[in-house]
Symmetry: D2
Subunit: 346 residues, 4 copies
């Protein structure tokens, strides 16, 4: 089989770098094009020296790529930038997996409300498929444009989907208390990711206003058909990678048990190679460097609440790994191709 | 003024060690007696070498102390052990501040239910005063036995007390999602505090069953007069010190605003030297090494929820510092004596 | 090609666990036997839950293995224990790669002097080959018993071998100042690897007496033919993995330059797929999870000293990875089989 | 006694912030003036929110200070900037403690060679006294301008001074292998102090060229009268604070023992309240937040080398604490005033 030719637009950030770690382990692809506006002309390994001898290809400017020679392009760009590339590439034959937030929401209006920015390519919304393979594999297989989900929504939605699939009759808003590693803030140096502000520290941020709130809420409505409200609070952990979400639901139905919950989840995910229903609370290090989403659901008799804890690596299942998983579906390959990494622990 | 003579029973754990850091900075006390069963005969600085030249006194066995020579004793012992000392010291004149969980709950029955252990000194419950100075200063001033609060309950209760004081009419259980540093697990080496199990990692533990659940719930009922349910989930942070609690309440009353909440909290704590109502989400490093409890309350119009975030140092305001604050009240000293540490940041 | 059948004796420690991470990525082997005395009867994934769904085989006692069914055995045991297994397996046909220190030194006498213990199998010393593939590939290919090198010696020796190969005429002892991650101390909980003793901390240990001193010194004499003295000081880093060694040599020859040093090293290692001669000081995270040894040599005109900095992952190139590399040589496979991991960074 | 009036020029960096932590604990001073060019007009606690309620004074521009109202000024400025303030303040009556590197070296020529910059105030060199109180107390007491030492030189020089005081007859260059926390790189966000570049990582930097090399070497020559060569290599630790230096000396005299070394050090530092001669290798956390310098000297019979390990908190004994200690000498106060902090550990 000829290898598919892959481009990465914006390859120097953490997401791009993670794609460059995963794709060489994939048997059916070849990364032929990597771009960077600021570092064009340099080798990839000059930007990220740990790639010396591994990825020494030269970065080019995005306007220098030959779109006819590509089978699929990953857009590893900030939101607000990505939309312009999707617009520009409209009508081209290659597939696009957009890792930004630009095409994840329902409409340009909702986008503007939460991203505080006009959207430049309204047509893209109709075309884009929201790319969680465990939930939308059918749509993904025939999509040309994938909106690769946000890191927080991935873990949160996988933790609620089995309950959502049978309708969410709840007595209170859903609370999603999430904790993320620092790489979620990107590779640029700024006070928020300064070592001494993060190390031995912990705090919440983005209360009430984080954009992933609406992404989670709208997708959950789509799955459940129910009108749900999400209270989402992200926190910053002194770790590089990983998101752990603790999700609290107040179901009307009170006859759950730990056992019935586990049965529901195991059944729902029986075909999902990357979801592990755990017997104990998962830890983020247990999925580090991998595409796993570990899930631990419990029911508290005393309070009548369902608690679901999920753990992912934000750069893999929360970004680059899920993107590769989407690519596998698009090209009709085994879903796990290139994604057999085992957790690096400790 | 003659200095009060202080004993620390069980001085070699983290709480005892923290008392040894704070008390030398207190002008009115002298630590005359420190005990350890396993390290008796050794200097304190042999157990904790960073105290070399600072605290070189010799540890003795607890049965070798002269109880007549003490004005106050801190019990820095594990729960289940502390009760026996309180029993043994019954009738002595010195004051006792018990840092264990043995006398914090309402009754021996409730104790047994959550601590899975019979209580050996039922009479102590009537005598013990729950020692959060910001809430119970009057009772503390005249107490002989203080049940020094748990680390999680301290931050959680201070974050809800202003709302509780005006009654808690809620539409759902209160969710307290807490994250603690490792010192909460104690100084003994075990897998849970092994470096490679904690570092670059994060996970929940004690779901549904943590003993601080009942301590928070019962105290909150006492303050509010309302029948509240607490869903409490602790998580383990890869840091030494600090607890951050994110508290979610669903009030019946929907006309809150950030401003009205802040006003309520500032008013409630106007006489409290260690409570800071913050303008931004607090970080645990911002209270490190200090007796502060930083609080950040917000109201989310979209969901109708109140979110309160609180941060403390679990070894100071969550243990040794609050114990010293209680001692100050008991001896009618300025509440801040010995507790003017400034955060060590970074 | 039939897969070779592999056993791991003592599979539950960090080294065994790392073999279990690497070997499934190797196309020509199958791990058929894993042993543990204390956890026999449990699944590997019960001991290390992050292996759930990845390695669910059951651990057995070492006396239950069928030695006739194995092609190669990794001994991932503590020193002092390993020797008894080598003795017991004497005369069997399978190959042995011993990851302990039991057969790395020149003689039982030297062993006794540095390990403070009598050696139980003197005959093993003649048979054992010291397994650094970059230096002793010929001997390794025909060996039955490999003494897999210590973690510190691996990085130190690779950093000096090019200089040693042309004779080491030095004016002073060689100073090797090494810094290691905590996994070097093993998986058992003890004060030395307690989170709060390691995190945000740093210290030296084993001054003057660390056993790797003699391993480095004797191997270096073997390579160089010169009589060298090693001053080796290990330090404990607050990280999981990685060893960085800063090596100071005072050569008689003073006409070195950075350029001539780099040329020497590049030439020496031109056939070595896992050695990278770096253009800047390497960082341990740049080799994390991989079998690379990154080397940075410089010459200081002002002082006449050569400084060489080397970085490895102590669990990979310093243990399990190098063991697999040795296995590849033994079975005449490509040296890099199963070892193409890319650094997990950040 | 009237309190002395203190100014801090450049108060918003880590050193300034640390002065603001220490000085409120000093009974004889009052910080009346704090400046910042970029944050003038804001409260100090707006820049560093953990100072809320502790230090809410307003920052002013440096040209707005009233020099006649100050008794002493700390210059907490970058090198190259500080010199202009010293020049400007020439002839004023207040004392100056300059925490930059601008007046630590012997001459403007040497300054230019290592700092690659012309010096704007040559006259300052004659006036400046190098401020290590343990070594130069007499000169400090009568100085108007103190060149507060660099962080690395402080720990390194205190580790060698007892040997230097009796002449340093060495057979090889002295090797100083130092490891520092990240705060040494300053408060500005940049790749070198980005969390994900530092956390779980370790590397050397500034090989052969670090400016503290010459500061150590020249001061050591002054103390010893001997012509010594220093090979100094700093490394970056994934911690906030602390410097540990491992110093290797090859003395001509070979009849040292651990005991005789300790005796020499204890004798030399018997009047030094902040130097602790330790019985085991010190750890940086054991001096965190304090003005201690912990020292551990050993002699290796096998190699004939003296190894000295020293640990300080780079922001305290390596900067702000030592500056306060110098101030105490200048004003003839007890050397320990304001500096009785006990290590925050863990």
């Amino acid at each position: 089989m000829d290898k598919k030719k892959i481009g990465i637009i914006g390859a120097t950030g953490y997401t791009g770098s993670e794609l460059m770690r995963i794709l060489p382990q994939h048997p059916h692809v070849e990364v032929t094009t990597i771009t960077s506006e600021s570092r064009a002309g340099e080798k990839f390994s000059e930007v990220h020296p740990f790639f010396e001898g591994i990825a020494d290809q030269v970065l080019i400017k995005s306007d220098a790529i030959n779109v006819k020679d590509l089978d699929l392009v990953f857009l590893a760009l900030p939101h607000g930038i990505s939309m312009d590339f999707v617009k520009q590439y409209h009508g081209e034959k290659f597939k696009i997996i957009d890792l930004s937030g630009d095409f994840r929401l329902e409409s340009p209006d909702i986008y503007k409300k939460w991203y505080l920015k006009d959207h430049s390519f309204h047509e893209g919304f109709a075309e884009a498929v929201y790319g969680i393979p465990e939930l939308f594999s059918k749509e993904i297989k025939s999509a040309r444009l994938i909106a690769n989900p946000g890191c927080f929504p991935t873990g949160a939605l996988l933790g609620m989907a089995p309950l959502a699939a049978e309708g969410l009759r709840l007595e209170a808003p859903i609370i999603i208390d999430s904790k993320t590693g620092v790489t979620g803030a990107g590779v640029q140096s700024k006070p928020v990711n300064l070592f001494s502000n993060v190390h031995d520290n912990f705090k919440a941020y983005g209360l009430k206003s984080h954009r992933h709130t609406i992404e989670i809420q709208d997708t959950l409505k789509k799955i459940s058909g129910a009108n749900v409200t999400i209270q989402f609070t992200p926190h910053l952990l002194p770790v590089d990678r990983g998101i752990l979400s603790t999700i609290y639901l107040q179901p009307s139905k009170k006859n759950w048990s730990d056992k019935s919950l586990v049965a529901l989840f195991e059944d729902f995910y029986q075909e999902a190679p990357f979801v592990r229903i755990r017997k104990q609370p998962p830890a983020i290090k247990e999925v580090r460097g991998t595409n796993y989403c570990d899930i631990f659901p419990v029911f508290d008799d005393r309070t009548g609440m369902v608690i679901v804890i999920t753990a992912i690596d934000n750069l893999v299942k929360g970004a680059a790994g899920q993107a590769v998983q989407n690519m596998n579906l698009i090209f009709d390959w085994d879903e796990t191709q290139g994604l057999n990494q085992i957790p690096v622990h400790p």
